[in-house]
């Protein structure tokens, strides 16, 4: 069973003037442990795709199952819980909370999980050390460089031990040297077993993924379900 499976998922944005088809009958399966990059021109639906996969947005038609669970049937609480426990998000703009220091920022998802104080502290320190920021617990985001902020955001995503990391242009706001460091970090995380789905503009970054998919006008192009399999070949189910 694939970890993520979309079948004919369609998503339209309706405004007063226009209706945009952001995802057009999209079908796709992602296995646990894969590192997948999503690329395509601006407006091709990459973010929308990531939002749907991350349960940040609804869709109009089709089905989406995560670990075999049909998400459209879940309540807000259950969806929030999946986001909290299974998924770690990394954003282009880092999305740290400016009024909270590094420690409190990483603490945010752990509090929603109602973990005991000691365990939260251990996880926060461990994941910040992993991204090389063990000594910056009391810094505010504004006191950190862009690369450091993105590391905090990655630590925040990692702190709850998610099995799926969703990243929307994680290197989009960073210079190329810093971007390379972040990519390196993502690879390490993937090697630890986490599934990574990364949206990127950058062809170089996309090429580093084990599997690349391309979007155009909300549709997959050149889609080959089993392209660049990395692990557990036997588990990959064919998707038509």
């Amino acid at each position: 069973m694939p970890m993520i499976e979309l079948v004919d998922v369609t998503k339209n944005y309706r405004t007063d003037l226009v209706e945009t088809c952001a995802l057009d009958s999209l079908s796709l399966a992602i296995e646990e442990g894969e590192f997948v990059s999503v690329s395509g021109p601006s407006g091709s639906g990459k973010t929308t795709f990531l939002n749907v996969v991350g349960l940040l947005d609804t869709f109009d038609q089709g089905t989406y199952t995560i670990d075999g669970q049909d998400v459209s049937k879940l309540t807000d609480r259950a969806q929030s819980r999946i986001r909290n426990e299974k998924i770690g998000f990394i954003f282009q703009g880092f999305n740290l909370i400016p009024d909270l220091d590094v420690f409190d920022n990483v603490d945010v998802p752990l509090r929603y999980r109602r973990l005991p104080r000691e365990e939260r502290r251990e996880r926060i320190v461990r994941s910040l050390e992993l991204v090389g920021l063990g000594g910056r617990l009391k810094h505010l985001p504004s006191q950190l460089s862009g690369g450091q902020q993105q590391r905090v955001a990655i630590a925040r995503a990692l702190a709850s031990d998610p099995r799926l990391i969703l990243a929307d242009e994680p290197t989009g706001n960073l210079d190329s040297a810093t971007a390379a460091e972040i990519m390196h970090l993502l690879h390490e995380i993937n090697e630890e077993g986490a599934t990574i789905l990364m949206v990127t503009h950058d062809a170089g970054c996309a090429a580093q993924a084990q599997r690349q998919i391309h979007l155009l006008d909300g549709r997959l192009i050149d889609y080959r379900p089993t392209e660049a399999p990395n692990i557990r070949l036997s588990q990959i189910a064919p998707v038509s």
């Binding site: 940040l56 929030s80 998000f89 954003f91 909370i97 400016p98 009024d99 909270l100 603490d107 998802p109």
Partner: protein
């Protein structure tokens, strides 16, 4: 819970929260004290007068001419007038009186037990009435005796007087016990007064405070060169007929006078004007302040929701349910309200001390404190819930929106 991070986040945004905290504190301090004063005014308005006010007619007589300069002449006129009034069918009794009760003021003096220090001085409204006072007002003697004809002065000038006091005044002057037979000093140690009777409760508006029921009665033919006042109590059925007969009766014996007849209820209405006005002013202040502060809390929450849409989306992405977002904003506003309330309570006590030093009023009590604070908190929750609900309905997809 999230209290720790909320507190730290607020303290990094001091300017935003401090203004609101101050607004809440000032509002609470003023509202609590205004409320306290208003409750006292209302209590004073609601309080029974203790006299048969519905069935009493108040007569004001204006006199002219040199004859009325003479005390003895006036004494005769007053005696004749009240005798004639008492003859009217349906009249229960009548008395001359120095000032009308319930008019919201009048004449007062300070009394203390003879020989006591000035700190024992108690202010009391004072009325001069004759030996028909009890039946006219419908008061009852609870200790000692009523006025007798012999108590009434037979000449003008200083004398030792027998007086009647209300029970509240008796207790204020002699807290340890029997006031009957005690001597009180009302300004002259040489001519003190002796308490011969204590009547049950009577209350007359006099600007608030305990003095309103601590009343002192002198016996006499209350009159001045410019006129005299009478109170007439009637059977309920005879009220109207007596009312219209009064000026005829009075003018028959002494035509060169002006007689104005009113009901005591009309006088009471006039006496309550200031109290009613105070209640209105105070309740308007309370209402406005609470309204403005509610608006302030609404504004702050609304602003902080609008300003943090991206953060809300991010929190949702990180696992916050709609309920968690709602709770976050409610808690944040609660923290601000609690700090403001704590400061407000301190300020309220300060203001209370200041007010108590300026006027004879009751101190802030737990009932007013509790109701005031609960009201403010309910308004705070009400003001927060609307923007907080809006926040909880924001889409998690805001997290990935780039503009």
């Amino acid at each position: 819970m999230e209290i720790g991070p909320i507190f730290r986040s607020l303290s990094r945004n001091k300017t935003r929260s401090i203004l609101l905290i101050l607004e809440i504190a000032v509002t609470l301090a003023i509202v609590l004290n205004c409320w306290n004063l208003m409750m006292q005014q209302r209590e004073s308005l609601m309080r029974p007068s203790g006299i048969d006010e519905k069935n009493i007619i108040a007569v004001e007589v204006q006199t002219f001419g040199p004859d009325y300069q003479d005390w003895e002449y006036r004494r005769q006129v007053v005696s004749r007038d009240v005798a004639a009034l008492r003859q009217l069918p349906g009249v229960i009794d009548a008395t001359p009186i120095s000032n009308f009760p319930l008019q919201g003021g009048g004449s007062s003096l300070q009394a203390k037990p003879l020989g006591a220090r000035d700190t024992a001085l108690t202010r009391a409204p004072v009325y001069t009435v004759d030996d028909h006072m009890l039946r006219t007002l419908d008061l009852e003697i609870v200790a000692g005796r009523a006025f007798e004809a012999g108590d009434l002065r037979s000449e003008d000038g200083p004398v030792i007087m027998n007086v009647i006091v209300t029970q509240d005044l008796a207790e204020a002057l002699f807290p340890d016990g029997d006031a009957i037979g005690q001597t009180i000093d009302t300004g002259s140690e040489e001519w003190p007064d002796i308490i011969v009777g204590v009547v049950d409760a009577m209350h007359t508006p006099y600007g608030g405070g305990p003095m309103e029921s601590q009343i002192l009665f002198y016996p006499g033919f209350a009159s001045r060169a410019s006129g005299m006042n009478y109170l007439i109590r009637t059977e309920p059925a005879a009220f109207d007929s007596v009312f219209s007969a009064v000026d005829g009766v009075l003018l028959e014996s002494e035509p060169s006078r002006v007689v104005q007849v009113q009901t005591l209820l009309e006088i009471k209405g006039g006496g309550q004007v200031i109290s009613r006005f105070s209640v209105q002013v105070l309740s308007t202040i309370i209402g406005l302040l609470l309204f403005v502060t509610t608006l302030g809390i609404y504004g702050m929450t609304s602003f902080s929701v609008t300003q943090r849409t991206k953060q809300i989306g991010t929190r949702r992405a990180l696992g916050a349910s709609q309920g968690a977002i709602l709770r976050y904003f409610l808690l944040e506003s609660l923290v601000v309200t609690l700090i403001g309330s704590a400061l407000g309570l301190i300020a309220a006590s300060g203001l209370d001390v200041l007010i108590a030093s300026q006027m004879d009023s009751e101190r802030l009590g737990p009932t007013v404190l509790a109701t005031g604070i609960l009201l403010l908190w309910s308004l705070a929750i009400l003001a927060t819930i609307v923007p907080a609900l809006r926040a909880s309905k924001l889409s998690p997809a805001l997290a990935t929106r780039t503009v």
